[in-house]
Structures are given as structure tokens and as C-alpha cells.
């Protein structure tokens, strides 16, 4: 277990190597991919070792490794320390495992990109920060990873920075994250002020006594933390960066914007479950925001044409589910969905990646500049990419929540938990309902995506068609692995209801117990559970069937000749105009005020103009006027003189 430091360090070493290679401008792809992938695989190996070690020794609390005093000032003692516990173990495996797969996939996907070394450098750096995030033994260290991953996503979204949109997207992502980080920081200040420490162990030990149950402080802390999560995990109101983040290379979307980074928020809530347990209000907010986001994002996904955007919004929506889970207090469920989602969403993204790869090549071959990601330009691809097609169908069913695919179990647990809590707090019934609605839409738009992409007539173009190829093994390989995982992932946490042992739940117990102890457990009768499951599955099926019934593939035309949307369709297609709203309400006003008011008026005009230069000018003018009095005429001088005399004399006499 003491080897845990190796896990983040290996990717970091990879970053250093690849980074220097990138700066050296070397084109040696072999070394780069060896380093990039090798470090990840090695890290995965070490991670597995560490987790096994943990499982064997099965310590009561988290195992903390302190390396050096980082910020020791008076009573504030922050040390550079990593901690291994069940939660971080799960994340460890997901990050390194899925990460490794995606790295492998990237070898194929990015093969022709001249930023190859830079790409792997960034990717390794990301994994390093992500691991710091999940392994951190105190808030600041986690925060290092927290902002680090933000940085990497910034760099990777803007990877093809020649396109202004990409660079913009990167900036947008970083700034939105910063807004979240503001919350994280304030939360840390509050925590330190009220518990006197920032180490997880100490804080969670202190919290129940230091913070009153449901007290203002606890609520404030958790709400600020959650603000951080909304930024990182793209929840309302800070979700708009994630769809734009699709500007980055597809594997990046898969790794950062689906499997790992965006789930950091969920992780954080789970990590601080004790604090949330102390603040019911915050829990309601978390679950509520999650449920809303789930539905809201799903509606937008209905009308997107860009295959990656569909997936992006589905990610947002799925993250919403996870927050419903953790907000409800069902930490295990949340994490479970996090894991399964990591599998199938990574699969979906990589799949779409290979589709785009193929499309891109096709268009590249014919030098046409069509959009390689617009589903209206696809259709019938199953004939050319059979593997991708089938594998992606697996993921689709998983996300739609069709048994026995992994998604079914995790999503169902969340809904179940929400319903259960509803028995105590009716508000949660609403959340449950929203969740169901989202499930329906999810099933629908995913099926829609699959049909538009893989079935029906091909709309790519007659010449292009001939160039469509299935991706190389190095890309399909990872897909297969992921497909297996999303297929069988459910066993991780097979509920006792279905004869399972809820392994994950018990595994996480040491972490979640403290929090769980603070909130009353909500149970529902087995019968109710079964009905719930039935409802959920039914809803999903309805969605799929509807997608088959309602959508007519024959009417679809390629993007360039496609008519514009109208009415509700347009509203959805335009993402409810939220971006435009933010732009009009926040961005532009700030810029305008800064430029026109603060700078031009206050700074240049008032402070500098009127104040400083004004004073200077005034004295010059006065001086000039006074010098006009110097007429050179002696008579006048005498007059002034005598005036002086009169004044002086009268002063002297008083």
C-alpha cells in the first residue's frame, strides 16, 4: 500500500518525458506512445496492487501517507499527504483502468496528429492530477488535483487551438470551473474556521460535534462545496461548458468529460458525506439540482445533431443522476452509477470516436469539408463499422437502463433510494419522478442517436461511402473491454433483492458509515422495489420503442441541405438559449462595465484625468494666469506693491 505514491507519480513522469519530447519537437511517435500508455498501464498495475493490499489488510479507517509539510502556518497545518481508503480505491481503479484503455485507443485515434507528444503529455498530466484529487488526504491536496484537472481539460479542450472556438471552449471550461472553485475555497475557509483542520480524518471526526445538525454553518459549507461540484461536474447552473468541451479530441471527451473528471463532484460529495449528512437542506439541494439537470439536459439531447453533443448532454444528465444518488444519501448508489457510467459512457464516446475517425477519413480522402460529427451526414454506418455498432448498442442499452446491463442496476438503485427517501420527505418523490422522466428521454435520444448513426440509408455521400472503414484493432480493442465491463458491471453491486451481495456498498461502508449513521435509513418493502424496477424498465422500453416508431430515417437529409428547426425543436436545438442568456446577462455586462465604466470613465476619466492630471493642469493654468499679471508695467507693479503695504499694515495693527 505504501507504493501508492507511485500511482500518480508514474503518469507525472510520463508527462515530464512526453512534455520535453513535445517541446523538443520530436516526431518519434513510438517513444511517445510507449511512455504515455506504458506509464498508465504500470500505474494501473500498481493501483490494482494497492487495492488488493487494502482489501487484504482491510483497515478500519483510511490509511494516510504524509510526505512533507506543505503549508505549515501556526494552527493551519497542511501536509502533502495521500490517503488510501475504499472510496479512493474505487476511483483509483476507474481512473487508471479506463484511463489506460483510453490511452491505448488514443494511440490509434491521434496517430496522424502532429501534436501527438503534446497530447499524451497533457493526458498523462491529467491522470496525475486526477489521481491527486482522489488520493488527497486533505482538502487542499484534493484542491490541487481539482484545479489541476481543470487545467488539463482547459489544455485538452483547446488542444487544436488554431480554431478560436476550441480555445474559447477551453477558456470557458476553466473559468466556469473557477467559479466552482471559488465555492470550494470558501468551503475550506469555513471548515478550517469551525473545525480547526483541513485533514479529512480530523474534519470528519470533528464535524458531528463541531457543527450542529442542520445548522447554518454545515449548510453553508456543504452548499459552497456543492457549488464547486456544479462547476466541476457540469450541473445547473454551471453546466454549459461541458457540451462546448466536446471541441477537444474525442478520447479526451471520453476520459475527462465522461469517465473521470466530471465525476469528481460526485466523488467530493461522497468523500464529504459526513458534512452533507449534517445538512439536510443541502442534500435536498444536491438531489434537486441533480434531478433537474438530469431532465433538463436530456431534453436538450433530444434535438442535437452533433453525435458528441448528444453524448455530452447525456453525460450531464447522467451526472445529474449521480447527484440524486449522493444527495439522497445513497453514496454507494451514486458511486456505483459513477463506475458503470464510466464504463458505458467511455464506450459510447470512444465508439463515436471511431465513427468520427472513419467519417473524418472519408471526407479527408475526398477533400470535402463536411462536418464529420453531424449525424445527418451518417446513417447506415453499421455496414462499415459493424464492431463499433454492436459495441455501442451494448452501451446504449446500458445507459437506457435495460437489464441486465450495468446501467440498469446503478440507475435503478438511485431511483429506488430517492423513492425510499420520499417516504420520509415527499420532496424526493418529485425527484424520483424527474428521474423517471429523464430515463424515458435518455432511452429515446440514445436510440435516436444509434439509428441516425448506424441505420437507415447512408447520407455521407456516394464518393465518401467507399472510404468508410472500421477502426484499427488498437482502437476497437479498448471498446471490447469496455463493452464487457458495461455489460457485466452490474455484478459489482448486485442488490440483495436479486440475490446479490451489494458488494460495492459493503466495500464502501467504512467511508459512508459515518455519514449514514447521521441520517435515518429509508427502506421500502421488497414488493414496492420490484414495482419500481418494473416501472423503470417499462419507461426505458417505451423510450426505445418510441424512438423506433416516431423517427422516420428516410426523411432525413444531409446537414448542408437540412432545413432549420422551428418551434420547440428549435428551442431544444438551441439548448434553451441558456448560453445566449449567460452571455447577455453576465459576460457582456461585465465586459462593458469593465471597459466603458471602470476603465474609461473611472480610471482614465475620473481618477487619472480629473484627479491627477487635473491637479497638474490646474496648477499650470493658475501659474499661467499669475504670469499674465506680470504685465511688465511698472505702474501695475507699484499698485500691487501698495496693496501689499496696506494689507500688511492693517494686519500689523490688529
Amino acid at each position: 500500500m505504501h507504493l501508492v505514491w507511485l500511482v500518480p507519480l508514474l503518469p507525472f513522469a510520463g508527462f515530464l518525458l512526453n512534455g520535453s519530447l513535445a517541446l523538443a519537437g520530436s516526431r518519434t511517435k513510438g517513444v511517445v506512445s510507449f511512455v504515455g500508455v506504458g506509464t498508465l498501464v504500470a500505474a494501473f498495475g500498481v493501483a490494482v496492487y494497492v487495492v488488493l493490499d487494502l482489501a487484504r489488510s482491510h483497515p478500519a479507517g483510511p490509511v494516510v501517507f504524509t510526505y512533507w509539510d506543505w503549508i505549515p502556518v501556526g494552527t493551519l497545518q497542511v501536509s502533502a499527504a495521500l490517503q488510501v481508503d475504499q472510496l479512493s480505491a474505487v476511483m483509483l481503479l476507474v481512473v487508471t483502468g479506463v484511463g489506460a484503455l483510453i490511452h491505448i485507443f488514443s494511440v490509434g485515434y491521434m496517430h496522424d496528429d502532429d501534436g501527438y507528444a503534446r497530447y499524451f503529455a497533457y493526458l498523462n498530466l491529467f491522470v496525475f492530477f486526477m489521481l491527486t484529487l482522489v488520493l488527497g488526504a486533505n482538502f487542499p491536496v484534493t484542491f490541487v488535483g481539482w484545479e489541476g484537472v481543470g487545467l488539463c481539460s482547459y489544455l485538452l479542450i483547446g488542444f487544436w487551438f488554431e480554431e478560436k472556438v476550441n480555445a474559447d471552449a477551453g477558456k470557458k471550461a476553466f473559468i466556469m470551473n473557477r467559479i466552482g472553485d471559488f465555492g470550494f475555497l470558501v468551503a475550506m475557509f469555513l471548515i478550517w474556521q469551525h473545525t480547526g483542520s483541513l485533514d479529512y480524518g480530523a474534519v470528519f471526526a470533528q464535524a458531528p460535534t463541531a457543527l450542529t445538525m442542520g445548522g447554518g454553518v454545515a449548510t453553508a459549507i456543504t452548499l459552497f462545496l456543492f457549488l464547486g461540484c456544479t462547476g466541476k461536474s457540469a450541473q445547473i447552473p454551471l453546466y454549459t461548458w461541458l457540451p462546448d468541451a466536446m471541441a477537444g479530441p474525442t478520447p479526451v471527451s471520453a476520459l475527462i468529460h465522461a469517465a473521470t473528471m466530471v465525476t469528481a463532484g460526485v466523488f467530493l460529495v461522497a468523500r464529504t458525506n459526513v458534512l452533507f449528512a449534517l445538512a439536510p437542506v443541502s442534500q435536498a439541494v444536491v438531489a434537486g439540482v441533480g434531478a433537474l439537470t438530469a431532465l433538463f439536459a436530456a431534453t436538450i439531447a433530444l434535438k442535437q445533431w452533433d453525435i458528441k453533443r448528444v453524448l455530452a448532454y447525456s453525460t450531464v444528465s447522467q451526472l445529474g443522476y449521480m447527484f440524486v444518488g449522493v444527495g439522497t444519501g445513497a453514496m454507494a448508489a451514486g458511486i456505483f452509477h459513477l463506475v458503470t457510467h464510466a464504463f458505458f459512457k467511455a464506450l459510447l464516446f470512444l465508439g463515436s470516436g471511431s465513427v468520427i475517425h472513419a467519417m473524418h477519413h472519408a471526407y479527408h480522402a475526398t477533400h470535402s469539408h463536411e462536418d464529420a460529427q453531424d449525424m445527418r451526414n451518417m446513417g447506415g454506418l453499421s455496414r462499415y463499422l459493424p464492431w463499433t455498432c454492436t459495441l455501442m448498442w451494448i452501451a446504449t442499452l446500458a445507459i437506457a437502463g435495460i437489464p441486465p446491463f450495468s446501467g440498469f442496476f446503478s440507475k435503478d438503485e438511485i431511483l429506488g433510494a430517492a423513492f425510499a427517501r420520499g417516504t420520509a420527505q415527499p420532496l424526493w418523490y418529485v425527484y424520483w419522478a424527474l428521474g423517471l422522466g429523464a430515463a424515458l428521454l435518455t432511452a429515446f435520444y440514445m436510440t435516436r442517436m444509434m439509428r441516425y448513426t448506424f441505420h437507415g440509408p447512408n447520407r455521407t455521400g456516394s464518393r465518401e461511402e467507399t472510404h468508410l472503414r472500421e477502426a484499427p484493432a488498437v482502437m476497437t480493442g479498448p471498446l471490447v473491454v469496455l463493452a464487457i465491463l458495461s455489460l457485466a458491471g452490474g455484478v459489482l453491486n448486485l442488490p440483495s433483492l436479486m440475490g446479490g451481495t451489494a458488494w460495492l456498498e459493503r466495500w464502501l461502508d467504512p467511508v459512508t458509515a459515518a455519514g449514514a449513521a447521521l441520517v435515518p435509513a429509508h427502506e421500502v418493502a421488497a414488493g414496492t422495489e420490484w414495482t419500481l424496477i418494473a416501472v423503470a424498465v417499462g419507461i426505458a422500453l417505451v423510450g426505445i420503442v418510441a424512438a423506433f416508431r416516431l423517427l422516420d430515417l428516410s426523411t432525413l437529409v444531409p446537414a448542408k441541405s437540412a432545413p432549420g428547426e422551428t418551434g420547440l425543436g428549435k428551442l431544444l436545438w438551441k439548448k434553451w438559449y441558456v448560453d445566449e442568456l449567460y452571455d447577455a446577462v453576465v459576460v457582456r455586462p461585465i465586459l462593458w462595465v469593465s471597459r466603458k465604466v471602470l476603465w474609461r470613465v473611472i480610471d482614465v476619466g475620473i481618477v487619472d484625468g480629473a484627479g491627477v492630471n487635473g491637479a497638474a493642469a490646474t496648477s499650470r493654468v493658475l501659474g499661467w494666469l499669475a504670469s499674465r499679471l506680470q504685465t511688465g508695467e511698472l505702474g501695475f507693479y507699484a499698485v500691487v506693491f501698495v496693496v501689499g503695504v496696506v494689507v500688511v499694515l492693517s494686519r500689523a495693527l490688529r
Partner: protein, 193 residues
């Protein structure tokens, strides 16, 4: 200088011991005081410099008389000789030289006149305490003391004595001053440098 003291003494101290009644003296004093003021007023208001100069001479004479009445006959004489005699002649000479004689008026406009009047009034107002101010009694000589001193030491002697004893230094300085003036005048007057 001591030698000619008696002769001057004849001119000497007018005053009680010559038996002229004080009242007459007063009349004379007032007459000349008034004349001095009027003459000076004319001096500054005549358009023609020449006229001004002559009125100034007039003023100087009146003041000389006042000096004499105020027990300073020697100074009075000097006033006539040096001022009215030497200096004013110099002025007149220059005026003639530059023949400003008939230059039509160098008075300034009405505004200037008003300003001058106001300021002059202001100045007078500031100086007006002088009218009813006098040296502190503690250090004042008894009335007529100076007069009698003149009688005893002679008009000139009374002045000359201290001039060459107590006031030797200033006296020497004046000599230096005059030298400097001469040098200066010469430098400025020299045709070419």
C-alpha cells in the same frame, strides 16, 4: 563748522525766547503745513513734468520752514541748499535735457486715478494712528530741551557733534555710498564701453 555757528545763530532758534507769541508761530506752522500739502498735491497732479518739479520745489521749501519751526534750523538750511538747490536742479536739468517740458501730460487714466485714490486713502487710514501717537513719555525730553541745547551748543554743533562721534560709522558709509553712486553714474554715462 563750529566757527560760523554764531552767524547761523542769528537765524537760529526761533521760539519763545525771541518773545514771538506761540500763536503766531502756530499760524506760520499751519500756513506752511497746509501749503506743503497743497503744493505736493499739485506736484502729483500737474500734467507737465516741469510744473510738477516746480511744485515739488515749493513743497520742499515749505517743509524746510517746518523744519526750522521744529527746532531743526540746520536741517532746514540743508534742505534748501541740498534738496531745493542741488537735487531738484538736477531733476530740472534732466527734464530739460529730454525736453519733456511740453510733453502733454503723463497722468494715467481715470481707473488708475481711482485706484491710486483708494490705495492712498487706505494707506492714510493705516497711518492715521500716528496723528495722535507720540513717543512714550518715559523717554521724552522735557519741552524746549532740544531748543535750549541748540542755544548752548550752537545750531550746527548740536548736530555735528554726535555726527562725528556716535554716528561716525554711518557717516563714513554715506561717503562710500556717494562714491559708489559717482562710479555708477560714470559707468552709465560713459559714451562707449
Amino acid at each position: 563748522m563750529r566757527a560760523d555757528a554764531p552767524r547761523l545763530h542769528v537765524v537760529g532758534p526761533l521760539g519763545p525766547q525771541r518773545g514771538i507769541a506761540l500763536s503766531i508761530l502756530a499760524v506760520v506752522y499751519w500756513a506752511f503745513a497746509g501749503l506743503a500739502v497743497i503744493a505736493s498735491a499739485m506736484c502729483i497732479t500737474r500734467r507737465n513734468p516741469l510744473a510738477s518739479a516746480l511744485w515739488l520745489v515749493q513743497t520742499l521749501f515749505c517743509v524746510a520752514v517746518l523744519f526750522t519751526i521744529l527746532d531743526a534750523p540746520f536741517i532746514g538750511v540743508l534742505q534748501v541748499l541740498v534738496y531745493a538747490g542741488a537735487i531738484m536742479v538736477l531733476f530740472l536739468f534732466v527734464i530739460m535735457l529730454l525736453n519733456l517740458g511740453r510733453s502733454s501730460g503723463d497722468l494715467k487714466g481715470l481707473v488708475a486715478a481711482a485706484v491710486a485714490a483708494v490705495l492712498g486713502a487706505g494707506l492714510l487710514f493705516d497711518l492715521q494712528p500716528m496723528a495722535h501717537a507720540a513717543p512714550p513719555d518715559a523717554i521724552m525730553l522735557p519741552a524746549g530741551a532740544l531748543d535750549s541745547m541748540l542755544v548752548h551748543q550752537g545750531v550746527v554743533g548740536a548736530v555735528a557733534g554726535p555726527l562725528f562721534e556716535t554716528y561716525l560709522v554711518p557717516f563714513e558709509i554715506t561717503s562710500l555710498l556717494l562714491t559708489a553712486a559717482v562710479v555708477g553714474a560714470v559707468v552709465l554715462a560713459k559714451r562707449k564701453l
